[in-house]
């Protein structure tokens, strides 16, 4: 089955698809949230939440209900409009980035060809970086408009961190794009038949992974939040539903980044050893691989301490960026020579 790159369905199917993807994404977040708390607990020799519902399964529901029923509080020094819009930017860009993750090939469902992805944009990775670039405004405006110095510091850190790491992240993907010779994510997955890119592009894979940790503001790069020194960074002054939006966006970003890594380096819906399952298995293969990376995210959070600010900067600019550039360069030379 050859992927149809740049395939578009009728409008009504696209609307239906976006609703399904949004619903699935919405369901994944509480699962990841609970998984994180449970796994962190086990990593630290404790149980994690186990009181609400069987094995604490209803804990995310209780959390969200608690946050949504809280008072919408705003400091008097804050700028109202930006304060309201910042969490919305965060959550909207996270959901929009989810749209390009391919969960499967174009498949015939009830007589209509449907691609199991939100949209197969012909500039996949660029779209992703555009979205994460806008997502940063959610953090920066949120921190800045709070009118609190801790939030401001967190926001400024977020800005510096994002600039340093987005470059390396993009360059790490350049190697893959050169090898696959396409920017479409389904095209990249199709090009991985035979060998997943994390083997030939192992350096790019590692760089992308590290940069993704920084990109999603998760430990050990959670300097924007840094609860020990900045009280919570950019989201210090947020409470209730607005805080829930930030929280939601953070976990959605973890899911999105796991999906991108799965798609770009781990062969998306492809299975190794030439196993070709029926089409309906594809989304589950992708979800399984995503779960693997989400686990890695949590595992790393349980292990590594937070980096100091200057360490983060020097690591980004002096180690990751040269490595990523070198990786792209070597890949380009190899591809040119062998073609």
């Amino acid at each position: 089955m050859i992927a149809v790159v740049g395939y578009y369905e009728p409008v009504w199917i696209q609307i239906l698809k976006s609703i399904v993807i949004f619903a699935v994404g919405l369901q994944l977040v509480p699962v990841v949230l609970l998984a994180e708390r449970k796994l962190l607990g086990r990593f630290q020799s404790r149980y994690g939440p186990n009181r609400v519902g069987p094995f604490g399964a209803l804990q995310p529901l209780a959390d969200i209900l608690k946050l949504l029923t809280k008072e919408q509080f705003r400091p008097s020094t804050s700028i109202g409009f930006l304060f309201t819009i910042a969490p919305i930017i965060s959550i909207v860009t996270a959901v929009m980035a989810l749209a390009i993750i391919p969960f499967g090939n174009v498949q015939n469902i009830l007589g209509t060809d449907v691609g199991l992805y939100g949209i197969d944009v012909s500039i996949g990775p660029l779209y992703l970086f555009a979205m994460s670039g806008i997502a940063f405004y959610g953090i920066m405006l949120g921190g800045w408009s709070s009118g609190s110095k801790y939030s401001f510091l967190g926001a400024m850190r977020g800005a510096a961190q994002l600039i340093s790491y987005e470059v390396s992240q993009g360059l790490a993907l350049v190697g893959v794009i050169i090898t696959a010779q396409t920017l479409s994510l389904t095209g990249i997955v199709e090009a991985q038949k035979g060998m997943w890119y994390f083997i030939p592009q192992v350096v790019g894979f590692l760089i992308f992974l590290v940069a993704s940790f920084a990109e999603t503001n998760r430990a050990p790069f959670d300097l924007t939040e840094a609860d020990a020194e900045l009280v919570g960074g950019y989201n210090t002054e947020f409470g209730g539903g607005r805080f829930a939006s930030y929280y939601f966006a953070e976990y959605l970003n973890v899911i999105v980044v796991s999906g991108i890594v799965t798609t770009v380096f781990l062969g998306g819906w492809l299975l190794p050893f030439g196993i070709e399952p029926p089409g309906w298995v594809d989304p589950f293969v992708v979800l399984g691989k995503m779960a693997l990376f989400t686990f890695l995210f949590i595992w790393v959070r349980a292990t590594l301490p937070r980096l100091r600010y200057d360490q983060l900067m020097s690591f980004g600019w002096k180690v990751l960026l040269p490595l990523a550039t070198l990786n792209a360069l070597v890949t380009a030379i190899v591809v040119t020579v062998t073609h």
């Binding site: 607990g41 990593f43 595992w299 292990t303 590594l304």
Partner: protein
């Protein structure tokens, strides 16, 4: 003890107490990168090793940490086992010994048809304000008749401060032993 002699300061000879620390030169970029990588993996291995361990959490309301026999919890007043008379004679020594001043004793005379304690007098009122008590156990030491001892009960929270003033009846009643006792050598 490699190389160099201890720093000499005028009038003070540290002698053998000086520990010399020789610092290795900082590793080169390749070596430090490798070290970072290996140490990160080692850390990940350590956290993953916690995974198969049983958590050490004590699931509190259901499980309780056992207390030692000498644990000083809620007070108990005692009766003589054979006659059923109260041991307390209302001498107020416990109230005098109490540093938190939380015991109130009002003594009354025993008469023959209405005998409460074994002695001449008895405690008509015996109240301990547990919201003030610091659980020092001085009352127990001060008591000449071992009438008051510290029990093992520590779950004493209540919704109202007045509910924490324990009367003689409450202190005399056999308390629900809710705190498990630690065994010998445990």
């Amino acid at each position: 003890m490699s190389g160099g002699s201890p720093i000499k300061v005028d009038g003070w000879n540290p002698g053998e107490d000086v520990i010399e620390v020789t610092r290795t030169p900082p590793p080169g970029p390749a070596r430090s990168a490798w070290r970072t990588f290996v140490e990160t993996l080692r850390g990940l291995g350590t956290t993953f090793g916690r995974f198969h361990e049983t958590p050490t959490t004590v699931q509190y309301p259901e499980e309780k940490t056992p207390v030692y026999p000498r644990f000083r919890g809620r007070h108990k007043l005692h009766r003589f086992e054979d006659t059923g008379l109260e041991k307390c004679v209302g001498c107020s020594l416990c109230a005098a010994a109490c540093p938190a001043d939380c015991i109130r004793v009002v003594a009354a005379e025993n008469d023959d048809e209405h005998r409460v304690s074994a002695g001449e007098r008895y405690a008509a009122v015996y109240e301990i304000n547990l919201s003030r008590c610091i659980f020092c156990g001085y009352c127990e030491i001060a008591c000449p008749f071992d009438a008051i001892t510290m029990g093992h009960e520590y779950e004493l929270s209540d919704y109202d401060r007045t509910d924490l003033i324990f009367t003689k009846e409450m202190l005399l009643a056999e308390p629900l032993e809710r705190a498990p006792l630690r065994n010998e050598g445990e």
